[in-house]
Structure formats: structure tokens, C-alpha cells
């Protein structure tokens, strides 16, 4: 009898262990309650990042500076680098991991200005680099550039990188940055001319920033197309690129840690401070914040996106500075102009099905007026976000000064009264239509906090909100077979963060034109998820597309932002910042909107 009972109980045990293991995976949220508000005053000098003994002084350190150059720079990401070939990267962490090794022609700094990297200067119309008709851009390269293996960097490497990614079988994630290129020609040994398929106002889409890093032709030459994925030599190259930046690869465990050391062939090798750089990945954002701010184990921690109540006491420990600024994107509530009623079946949320009440400008305006952006910023974001009325906030030149969105519940109520929406109990109603909305977002502590605030805000004006939260993997998947995606938008309101990809806002603003409206006909992947469509806006977009002058373009972009804002095509809430943390002794890190958080790692020092 005993032998019968045992296997069952063992099975139960094993199951129990498995379930326990499977269920509780995303653990971090539990910590905050126990988080100590006051920092222990212990200086803990012993724990300070001890520079590993540098036996051979290969580089003569600058004697005038107080701290001697050398040692290891420790960086912590809560997502781990999985590949070092940026064109095959699947997340910010991959682009950043490659940034330490590889370089584009130019990068953006914290002020969104271009800084030459492989290029000797930034092309402009004035210096003849940018063709006045917008058909091409000509870059001058730094002379004498070398790869870390000692071979010469040539224009062939740039042309090769384009060839590599433009082949769709290579499956580059950066493909869209190379698609506008018609031809790349070497004018002379250090001058390269990029010709576009059609005139473009923004010539800095290719070979600039995280998505424009140049690969070595010698290393990846045989890897164009399917070989990039299946060939053993190419697979090896994907996790060990040869580069031109200040550091070269020393050791890489995909999904865990990358170790870099000095690149002796770097053009400014004598100015590089650290002997080694380590990027460790994994874990959660909260303990990443603790590792830099409380235990001081690492020098720099990326993207500490945690609710304010948890983050602030950790920052208060005093060992670290938060590096936040620019824009990580604008958190917004998108309004559905189409009717998501499930009763419509396949016609659900199709553009020709008008929404029963959100097409009424008064309702949209009232909702916009009722939402308490300041409370959301104060209670949920703290140092990581601030209220905004604009959907376009970066670069600063296109951040509209004309919009206002201060909370005014009385005005909102009056608007609804005037439009004939009458209170019936706690919900307003007109002609049998009740103001009952659904608000969908991802499963995330921060977002559920925002949802709760919005729900109570809208209750004050007689708009009832039903809340729903969906797993981010599903919501953002764009899977046409799944009903819960952002693209399908089968609800009245939805909330997420988005922002422009580059300093030029054209591609971003295109997302509210009539041509981009999502529908079943285009598999819901065009980008205009709110199904907003306005003649005025489309006319402005056509004007923007034709305009080449940057100043006039900025003016048009502001006008477009204002149309969206006045028409309440969507409700911008918070301008989010990516809050990185650094030890007080570390110098160099800046925030960055359009490029990597570690874009200038070559000049970091202690």
C-alpha cells in the first residue's frame, strides 16, 4: 500500500515545485514594502568598486588628473545583451552592447545635436554635404581609421553594411534605416556619397545613431542573406564583432555578461580612461537601482523604470545620481474614432463604423480636461516623467508652446451639459447612448496606477470607465490573429508610450494621417490605431513632406501637433524620461533621447 501512496505524493511534490517555479517568475514587485526609508549611514568604503590591480602600465596615465586611469567600468542592465551584431539586435540592450565596440558615422548627444564619430564633420547644406534638392548626402570620413584587428577602415565597409542589411533574407532589424538608400558611392578614399531613392528632408536616417553602426566587411563578407543566421562562421561573428570604437570584445556570454578591453587601434586610445568595461544583464530594475545607489557594486545602471514610491528612497541613499532627461516617449491615451462594439462582429473597430460618442468633440474635450496629469506625474512617475499636452515633445524645436491642458472639471462638465449629455444617475446619457468607456493598457504597476487615477477623474464628469490590462507581449505583438493587440484597438480608449524615432518628426506624424488608418484590409499594421482622419491634418502632412527647409518644417510640425491637440485626436499625458543611475564618482554619462544611453562611453572616466 505504501508503494502506491508514495509515487502520487512525489508527483504532487514535483508538480508543486514546478508550479511554484513557473508562477512566480516576475518577482520584483514584492520588494518595496520592506525597502528601508532611511539609508544606513555606513560609508562601507570596503565595498567600493575596487579597481583590479593593473600590473602592466601599458598606457601612461595623465599624471595631472587625480584618479589614475584604468580599472573596470561596471554597467548593469536589467535586460541582458544577447547579440553584439546591432543589425540583428532584438532590444535596446543589444544596440547598447554593440555601441561599446562599433560606431556609426555620427551620433546624437543629449541636446539632440549630431556629433561626428567615423565622420570628420557633419554634412550640411552650407558645407556642401547635403544636396539642396534633398537627393543625396556626402560624408567626409576621418582619415587613418583602423579596425581593432589593425586593418584599415574603408568606404567598402560602409557600402557593405548597406548591402548586408538591404538583403531581406539577412533579417536586419535595422532594415528601415537602409531602405531609402538608392546608391552609395566612394567619391574618394575618405568621401562617401549616399543617394536616396526619393528626395528627403532628413539625410541623417542612415549610418547615424544606434541603428547605423558600420560592420567590418572582412568579418561579415560571407554573411549576406540566410547565411547570417545559419552559417557557423557568421553565427560566431554575430557574437564577436570587430569594431572601431574605444573598446574591443574580450569575453561574451550571451544573455548574461559582456566584457570589453581597450582597443589599441582606437584613434584616441590614449584618452580612454578605463582598462575594461563590463555590461552585466538580467534581474530586475529595483535591485539594479540598489546595486548602484545602495551597495555601489556597479558604476552605472540602465533604465530604472520603477514606481516613484520605490525609486525615491533608493535614490536617497546618496551614492548615486539619476541621469534623466530628454524623452523616452509620451505616455498617451488614444481615443478610438471607430466603434469597438463586439456586436459588430468582423466590422468591429473598422474605420467606417463611427464611434457612438467619441466622435463628439465635446466628449473628447471633456475627457481631456478631466484627466489629472499632475497627479499622475506626482504619484506615479516622480523624477521619471512630467505632464505634457503635446504628442510631439522632442527635439525641443518642435515642442509646441501653444497648447494648454490644465485640469478643469467644471469646464468639462459644462461642455458635456452644453452638448446635451445629461446626468442619469452617475453616468451621462444622450439619446439612449451612455458614456461608458473601456480603457485598455499593459499589465504594469505604473500603468494600473494611472488607470485608477483616470477612472476616478472621469467619474467626476459622469464618464464611467471599465479597466482592462493585457500582457505586454500580447498587446505589443501586432499579431493579426490576436484580438488584444494595440493595433486592433478593440476598446474605446487605450494607453501606451510612443515617440519619434529620429529628430525628424515626419515618420512619427505620419501615424495620424487618413492613409495610415488601421483596418482589417491592411492587417491593422499601418500605425494609426485611433482611426483618426482629418483633411486639415492630411493637408499639413503633405506640406511637411514637400518642405525641405528645417525651420519651416519645425513650424509645420508644431501646427500638426496643435491640430491633434485641439481636436483631441489623442490625449497626451506624460513625457517620460529614461532614468539611468550612476555613481557620483563616475563622469561622462548623459541622458539621450535619440541615441544610446552609453553613446559616449569612450570618454567616461572616474
Amino acid at each position: 500500500m505504501k508503494t502506491k501512496v508514495l509515487p502520487t505524493s512525489i508527483a504532487v511534490l514535483v508538480l508543486f515545485a514546478l508550479v511554484l517555479g513557473a508562477c512566480a517568475a516576475p518577482a520584483p514587485a514584492a520588494a518595496p514594502a520592506a525597502a528601508a526609508p532611511e539609508a544606513t549611514a555606513a560609508p562601507a568604503a570596503t565595498e567600493a568598486p575596487a579597481p583590479t590591480a593593473v600590473p602592466a602600465a601599458t598606457e601612461a596615465p595623465a599624471a595631472t588628473e587625480a584618479p589614475a586611469a584604468g580599472g573596470k567600468l561596471k554597467i548593469l542592465y536589467w535586460q541582458a545583451v544577447t547579440t553584439l551584431n546591432p543589425h540583428l539586435g532584438t532590444g535596446t540592450k543589444d544596440f547598447d552592447g554593440a555601441t561599446v565596440i562599433l560606431e556609426p558615422l555620427a551620433r546624437r548627444n543629449e541636446l539632440d545635436e549630431l556629433v561626428p564619430y567615423l565622420a570628420a564633420e557633419i554634412p550640411s547644406v552650407a558645407n556642401g554635404g547635403i544636396a539642396a534638392d534633398g537627393t543625396s548626402v556626402t560624408w567626409k570620413l576621418r582619415p587613418g581609421l583602423k579596425w581593432s584587428d589593425g586593418s584599415d577602415f574603408t568606404i567598402d565597409d560602409i557600402i557593405f553594411t548597406w548591402d548586408y542589411c538591404k538583403d531581406e533574407a539577412t533579417a536586419c532589424t535595422t532594415l528601415s534605416n537602409f531602405q531609402p538608400i538608392k546608391a552609395i558611392d566612394a567619391v574618394d578614399a575618405t568621401t562617401v556619397k549616399i543617394t536616396w531613392t526619393e528626395p528627403r528632408a532628413d539625410p541623417f536616417i542612415s549610418f547615424v545613431g544606434s541603428q547605423g553602426m558600420v560592420l567590418q566587411k572582412k568579418q561579415y563578407g560571407a554573411c549576406i542573406g540566410g547565411a547570417a543566421l545559419t552559417d557557423a562562421a557568421c553565427q560566431a561573428a554575430n557574437i564577436a564583432p570587430i569594431g572601431t570604437n574605444a573598446y574591443k570584445l574580450k569575453d561574451f556570454k550571451p544573455g548574461d555578461v559582456v566584457l570589453y578591453d581597450r582597443n589599441p587601434n582606437f584613434r584616441d586610445a590614449d584618452k580612454v580612461f578605463f582598462d575594461e568595461v563590463e555590461i552585466k544583464g538580467g534581474g530586475d530594475a529595483t535591485s539594479a537601482a540598489r546595486a548602484v545607489c545602495e551597495t555601489g557594486e556597479v558604476d552605472f545602471s540602465w533604465n530604472l523604470q520603477i514606481p516613484k514610491a520605490v525609486l525615491e528612497p533608493i535614490l536617497a541613499a546618496g551614492k548615486c545620481d539619476s541621469v534623466a532627461g530628454g524623452s523616452f516617449g509620451v505616455e498617451r491615451v488614444v481615443v478610438n474614432f471607430a466603434n469597438p462594439d463586439p456586436a459588430l462582429g468582423a466590422k468591429r473597430s473598422e474605420p467606417d463604423q463611427k464611434h457612438p460618442f467619441l466622435v463628439d468633440l465635446a466628449v473628447r474635450k471633456a475627457i481631456n480636461l478631466a484627466i489629472d496629469r499632475q497627479a499622475i506625474a506626482d504619484q506615479m512617475y516622480g523624477p521619471t516623467g512630467e505632464p505634457t499636452c503635446n504628442v510631439l515633445v522632442v527635439p525641443a524645436a518642435v515642442n509646441s508652446p501653444n497648447t494648454k491642458c490644465a485640469r478643469d472639471v467644471d469646464a468639462a462638465n459644462k461642455l458635456l451639459d452644453a452638448a446635451g449629455w445629461e446626468m442619469n444617475g452617475s453616468v451621462r446619457e444622450k439619446g439612449g447612448v451612455k458614456l461608458i468607456t473601456s480603457l485598455v493598457t499593459t499589465i504594469n504597476t505604473l500603468r494600473q496606477g494611472e488607470q485608477a487615477i483616470i477612472k476616478s477623474n472621469l467619474a467626476e464628469i459622469g464618464v464611467q470607465v471599465t479597466l482592462k490590462a493585457i500582457d505586454a507581449g500580447v498587446y505589443f505583438s501586432g499579431d493579426p490573429a490576436n484580438p488584444d493587440t494595440l493595433n486592433k484597438f478593440y476598446s474605446d480608449l487605450q494607453m501606451y508610450t510612443n515617440g519619434p524615432d529620429g529628430t525628424d518628426p515626419q515618420a512619427y506624424l505620419q501615424g495620424w494621417t487618413c492613409a495610415e488608418v488601421n483596418s482589417s484590409a491592411n492587417q491593422w499594421n499601418k500605425g494609426n490605431d485611433g482611426r483618426y482622419c482629418s483633411k486639415d491634418y492630411d493637408a499639413l502632412y503633405a506640406k511637411l513632406k514637400a518642405e525641405m527647409d528645417p525651420v519651416k518644417r519645425a513650424e509645420i510640425a508644431i501646427q500638426m501637433n496643435d491640430v491633434l491637440s485641439n481636436d483631441v485626436a489623442l490625449i497626451p499625458l506624460i513625457n517620460r524620461r529614461t532614468p539611468n543611475g550612476k555613481l557620483k564618482t563616475l563622469m561622462g554619462p548623459t541622458y539621450n533621447t535619440f541615441d544610446s544611453s552609453i553613446w559616449n562611453i569612450a570618454v567616461w572616466s572616474r
Binding site: 544573455g255 545602495e294 499579431d479
Partner: protein, 319 residues
């Protein structure tokens, strides 16, 4: 005996096939794709993602993909990881040493601790030691590892600063300082795992011992005048080994499953951490490799446990 083993091995083939089909189907039916992290990156439009999905063969219906996976596996090709675009087998092998070092060591420690505690608790049933062991096991059973882990982290890393939060997998065992650093970084994750595993094993050992302690042969042995110590260790313990061996043998594969929560929490780059990130990133080839290896080990340990019964108990016969 060898006939029996042969039959069992043969039987395990359909079992493993069924397991792999089920896992593959679940992964294929679950939403998400390898680029979901970049879903809202405007620099990577939906068309590019669709293209990459096609390149990875994710557009095929799942039975077709399963067939491709199975046939390449039979050729010894585990495929390439979607997120690192390098061979799956390399990535998995890279994780084995860390998992053995932390999870394996913890398990060993748990066995070494649990069996004597279990024996002692059974022999001195209801003594203060037994009560203490019981409380300890219930705590170990009921407190989840993400809680113990965070608690240890807050107390010993953040407050006392004895141990590091960030696990350094580049450390070797070359010098005394390195070994010391290894021990320091292993301390917290190993403690969390030991607390859990010891709890289960202690209870099993105790109840198996108690089952036998009341048997007539124990009284007979005592009546013959054998020392109590010898009776407990030679007679009772040997007879209690069957359930213990079963549990230990069936748990060995779970070492290779890694410790998902603990590894993730302490940033130990083990198999469990790999499994959970791969699931989150819809990195099907890696998940398949890990779960399939796990299934093979599970089936194999079952066989080992069954064979061990025969060794431990002469009454068990294989026909």
C-alpha cells in the same frame, strides 16, 4: 534486468515525442514573437518585424515547424537562438557550469543536511529537535523563494553589505581571493535553495523512518540486544531508503532545470534564468532545447529510480 531496461528505454521514445509535441504546440499557440521587445520602436516598423518572422520560419503552421525542428534534431542540430542568432547548444552549454555550481551545490548541501535531520527527528519524535525541524520545514515549504531571496538581499546585501547583489559569472577559481568571492556571491542564492529543498527532504526522511521504526523487526532487533544506534542506521534507515532514493533521483533533473526565480533574482546566469528569458522573448529553439533535455533527464531518472528499487529491496522483481 537488462531486458527490462531495454523495454523501458524503448517505451520512453514515444513518451519523449509526445512531450516535445506538447511543448512545441504550447509555445506555438502562445502569443508574442521574438521581436516583441521592439514592438513600439518606430525605427523597426511592423513590415520589418513581419519580414523577420518569415525569415525565422514563424509563418509556417506549427506542425510544419515541429517537423523541421524534429528532423534537424535527429541530425544533431538544435537550431539557432532567435535572440542571439548563434547556436542553441553553445548557449545552453555555457549555462550548465553556473547552474551546477549554484543549484547543484545547493542540492548536495540540502541532501547532506536533510537526511541526518530527518533521521534524528524521527528517532526523537516530538522532542524539541523534532519540533524545531518541523517548524523549519514548514517555513521552507511555505515561504516562496522570491520572498526569502529579497529578504536576504535587503538584509545581507543592502544593509549589512556582506554579499554582492550582482553575481559575477566571469569569476574563476584561480586564486584564493577568487574562491572567496565565489563563495560570497553564492551564499545568498544557495541559502534560498537549501532552505526550500531541505524542507521537503527532511519531511520525507522523517516519515519514511517513522513508518519503519514501529515495525516488528525493529523490536526483534532490539530484543536481540543490538545497540539502538546500529538498529536505526543499519536496519531502519536501509529500509527507509526507497522513498528517499525516489525523491532524490527524481529531483536530480530539476537541478538541470535550474532555479528560475532564484537565478533570476540573483542574476546567476544558469539554465533557469535562460529558460525564463527565452520564454519571455519567444525564443522557441532555446526553450525547446531546454525543456527537451529536461524531459530526457526526467525519463532517465525515473528509470534509474525504478532500477534502484531492485537493488535496495530484493523483493522487487522485474518481469
Amino acid at each position: 534486468m537488462s531486458n527490462y531496461i531495454f523495454r523501458r528505454v524503448l517505451l520512453s521514445v514515444p513518451t519523449l515525442l509526445a512531450i516535445s509535441i506538447i511543448i512545441f504546440a504550447i509555445l506555438a499557440l502562445a502569443p508574442g514573437d521574438p521581436l516583441s521587445q521592439l514592438a513600439l520602436n518606430p525605427g523597426i516598423p511592423e513590415s520589418t518585424r513581419q519580414l523577420i518572422r518569415t525569415q525565422f520560419g514563424l509563418d509556417d503552421p506549427w506542425p510544419v515547424r515541429y517537423w523541421k525542428w524534429l528532423t534537424s534534431l535527429l541530425r544533431g542540430d538544435w537550431g539557432f537562438s532567435f535572440s542571439s542568432r548563434s547556436p542553441v547548444i553553445d548557449i545552453v552549454m555555457q549555462r550548465v557550469p553556473q547552474t551546477l555550481q549554484v543549484v547543484g551545490f545547493a542540492y548536495l548541501l540540502a541532501v547532506v543536511l536533510a537526511i541526518p535531520i530527518g533521521i534524528l527527528a524521527a528517532v526523537r519524535q516530538y522532542s524539541w529537535f523534532d519540533q524545531l525541524a518541523t517548524v523549519f520545514s514548514f517555513v521552507g515549504f511555505s515561504v516562496p523563494s522570491f520572498f526569502t531571496g529579497l529578504l536576504l538581499m535587503l538584509v545581507f546585501a543592502v544593509r549589512l553589505k556582506w554579499f554582492p547583489i550582482v553575481y559575477d559569472s566571469l569569476l574563476g577559481f584561480g586564486s584564493a581571493t577568487e574562491v572567496l568571492a565565489q563563495l560570497r556571491q553564492m551564499a545568498m542564492p544557495v541559502t534560498v535553495l537549501v532552505v526550500q529543498q531541505t524542507a521537503a527532504l527532511t519531511r520525507f526522511t522523517r516519515s519514511a523512518m517513522l513508518d519503519n521504526l514501529g515495525q516488528n523487526y525493529v523490536r526483534t532487533a532490539r530484543a536481540k540486544g543490538l545497540p539502538y544506534r546500529r538498529v536505526v542506521l543499519r536496519h531502519v534507515f536501509s529500509n527507509s531508503l526507497i522513498p528517499i532514493v525516489t525523491l532524490v533521483a527524481l529531483s536530480i533533473p530539476t537541478i538541470f532545470g535550474g532555479a528560475i526565480i532564484t537565478e533570476n533574482l540573483f542574476r546567476v546566469n544558469g539554465l533557469g534564468a535562460l529558460l525564463i528569458t527565452s520564454i519571455n522573448n519567444s525564443d522557441t529553439p532555446v526553450v525547446m532545447a531546454l525543456s527537451f533535455v529536461f524531459a530526457v533527464l526526467m525519463v532517465f531518472s525515473n528509470l534509474v529510480a525504478d532500477v534502484m528499487y531492485g537493488v535496495l529491496d530484493p523483493r522487487v522483481r522485474y518481469n
